[in-house]
Every structure is written in structure tokens, then in C-alpha cells.
Symmetry: C2
DNA sequence: TTATATACAAACATGGATGTATGTAAATAA
DNA sequence: TTATTTACATACATCCATGTTTGTATATAA
């Protein structure tokens, strides 16, 4: 039995992606061979080359499957404009992402790969620009939310929404990095939401 | 002329390290060959294997040369206990690191390699633990400084020194990551010190 | 029903990286 | 002065990953 139905083919494609994610995580992207991935997916390299041009294409497939939905989701939480508590809105968008990291294995693995198991050179360098762009966009959303918070007079101190947004973005960026690195959970994973609440609390009047 | 004097040998060793740093930066650690490094250093692989066991050992040499002094330096700035303004002390320690990143090419390159051009698996995984440990230690230093600030009554709000320290650490961790990624400087590099001052200002009564 | 395209497996060909072994001229020790 | 290291360069052997080509059974279209 060689030739599969279209649905079967789609299943093996997904199996290859899943296998690649786990192999990447364990061995790092550059040390992972297509043979490793194929074996883990219980196919041959022939199947892998049928579905993907090369390793880079698998990498992007993994990334797109997890990151594109996540960005949309974060956007959604932040963009609601008629919230009566924009600070809680920011807090929720951050906690929501952490919550996803905790519960969604694929997402956790993907984050770990992107942050610690790949090298941003050549073909991968373009990914960096995308990351930068997403960061800008998220920071802008934070700023808008802080503006709304300011007009509602719930902000402590005289700080500009822009400065607060940048600070929050850097805080969260750092938190994500530490969350991912802290694989035993002792230092950051277990108290991530507490840290977020505390960060927001700093801004509340 | 083959055999060199001891001083000459030390020079070629350093040339190999410098070459490796630039090759790692351009090609990523795993795609960098000892041949690449040797060529750039204007020696042969023979010389490289004479001075280093393998690529990993070069990697550690690069790291140690830059990071060990940096950590000491940050410790020094933070540990002075009789400062009359602990908040400025924290601010200075952060700004000082950014200043070093701006002025010290080797340090900048090394940071970039560690953050974006290597994969933390196998032999490199141990480096991660070191990073985590350094982070804990720095956070502890922050906490002590914030405690001093609290006892001097210059802190705004009711927040604990521990929470403030963690928040600052995450902020700075994020800043370093973004600083490194922002290679054209437009988004973070040029305004890093402003962001730091603003972050500290948030805490000042 | 037959022809063709699909979804792979298996085989092949190539290049490149690693580590080691060997060679060697000069520095240094004795 | 001679013997012995030292600091490399050169040559060799091995392995491994990649990409491509070929083969093939079957799903699907006509």
C-alpha cells in the first residue's frame, strides 16, 4: 500500500510537522536531519521531500501554525475599545498568552524552538524582521490601551502612554524569554501571572 | 618559519577567537566550520586544533572573555551599599551595561551570538543554567538595592522590593533582547537609556 | 475501464565537515 | 651544542546529510 488518499496525505504532512517540532526541540534545528524527522514521523525522507522543499520550509510551517493564530488572538483581546478597565484588559492579554503557553504543548514547544533552538541567519533572518514588526504592533496596541486608561484617570503618576507601553512590552518580552528558559518552572513559570498582575498594579492609581 | 614564540602563540590563539566570533556572527555557530574560522584567522585547521579541542571550546572561550568581566562589573556597580540614591544606582548599572554594548564591539557581537546565533542543546545546554543563575544573582542584587531605596522612603507605592526587582529584571532582560535584535537601532538602541530612566522613574516617589 | 497523476519508498551520487595522524622547522631546555 | 618540545601545516580516512532520480502501487479522473 503506497498511494494514500488526499486525507491520508494531509495526515502524514501533519505528522511530519509534529515530528519535526519534537526533533527540533530535542536536537536543535541545525542538528536535526530530515532522516531524524522522517523516522520520528514513521515515513521515509521521500515523504518529507514530497511535502516540503527542505528543512527551512518545515520550520516555517511549524512557526505559522502556532504564531499566526496567537498574534491574532492577542490583537483581539487588546483591540476591544469599549472596555471600562483598559489596564485589566492589558493584564488579561498577557495572562492569556501565558495561559496558552501552559496549556498548549505545540505552542510551548514552538516558542522554545524559536527562542533557544535555532540560529537567525540567512533564510531565518527574515523571521527576525517579522518578530520586530509584531513587537511594534503589539506595543502600539498597548499604547492605545494605556491612552484609554489615562483618559479614564486610573493611571498612577505622570507617565506617557507610550513610555508605559514600551516598558510593558519589554517586561513581557523578558518574561516570555525567562518563562521559556525556566524549564523546571521554579523561577518564573509558576508565578508568571503574579508577576504580570504586579507589573500592572505598578501603574494603577 | 613554523615554530612561534610563546607570545606569538598567544596572539594566534586570540586571532582564532576573534575570527570565530565574526564567523559565528555571520554564519551562526552550527554552520560555521573550523575551516571558515581558520581561514579568517589566516591559519590552518591544524592551528585551531592545537589551541582548542573543538568548536564548543572556542564558543566557551568567546563567552568567558566577555561575560565574566561583565557580570563582575554589574555586580560591582550594584553592590556598593552606602549609596544615598539606590534607584540611581540601579539605573546606572543598567545604563552602564547598555553603554558597554554600544562601545565594545566584542561584547556586542558576543551578545548577538548568544542570543540569536546559537542553539542551546547538548553541550550548550549547560550555558543556559549559567545564564539562569546569573539572572537570579542579579535579581537578588536589585532586590537589595530596592530594599535600601524603601528604607530611604524614596519608593512610590506599596510594592515589595522583591516584586520591583523581578519586574526590573524582566524589563532589562527584554531590553537586552530587543536591543540586540534591533540591529538598525531605530526602535531600541538609540533610546535604551531613555527607556531605562523611564522605568526607574516609575518607581520614584 | 483505462490512463494518468499522486504519494510515497528506495537507491544513488555528491560534497563537505570532522578528527586524527604525520611531518617539520624553529624555540627552548639541558 | 644537542635533544626535545612546541606550534603549527599538510595529508588522510571516515562519516554523514543533502538532493535527486527512479521505481511503484494505488487513488482518481475521464
Amino acid at each position: 500500500m503506497v498511494r494514500k488518499t488526499k486525507l491520508d496525505a494531509e495526515l502524514t504532512r501533519q505528522r511530519i510537522i509534529d515530528a519535526a517540532r519534537e526533533v527540533f526541540l530535542a536536537r536543535g534545528v541545525s542538528r536535526s536531519t530530515l532522516e531524524h524527522i522522517a523516522t520520528r514521523a514513521e515515513v521515509t525522507r521521500g515523504a518529507v521531500y514530497w511535502h516540503f522543499k527542505n528543512k527551512t520550509e518545515i520550520f516555517h510551517a511549524i512557526r505559522d501554525q502556532v504564531f499566526l493564530p496567537l498574534i491574532d488572538r492577542m490583537d483581539d483581546t487588546l483591540t476591544v475599545e469599549n472596555s471600562d478597565d483598559p489596564l485589566t484588559q492589558i493584564e488579561n492579554s498577557l495572562c492569556d498568552t501565558i495561559h496558552e503557553l501552559n496549556n498548549n504543548i505545540q505552542m510551548r514547544q514552538t516558542y522554545e524552538i524559536m527562542m533557544m533552538k535555532c540560529e537567525y541567519v540567512d533564510e531565518f533572518a527574515t523571521v527576525l524582521q517579522q518578530i520586530l514588526n509584531n513587537c511594534s504592533s503589539i506595543t502600539d496596541k498597548f499604547e492605545l490601551a494605556y491612552k484609554r486608561a489615562k483618559s479614564k484617570k486610573i493611571l498612577a503618576g505622570p507617565h506617557t502612554p507610550r513610555a508605559l507601553a514600551l516598558d510593558t512590552h519589554l517586561f513581557f518580552s523578558g518574561l516570555l524569554h525567562m518563562w521559556v528558559k525556566d524549564t523546571d518552572g521554579s523561577k518564573f513559570r509558576f508565578q508568571a501571572t503574579v508577576l504580570i498582575k504586579s507589573h500592572i498594579q505598578l501603574r494603577r492609581k
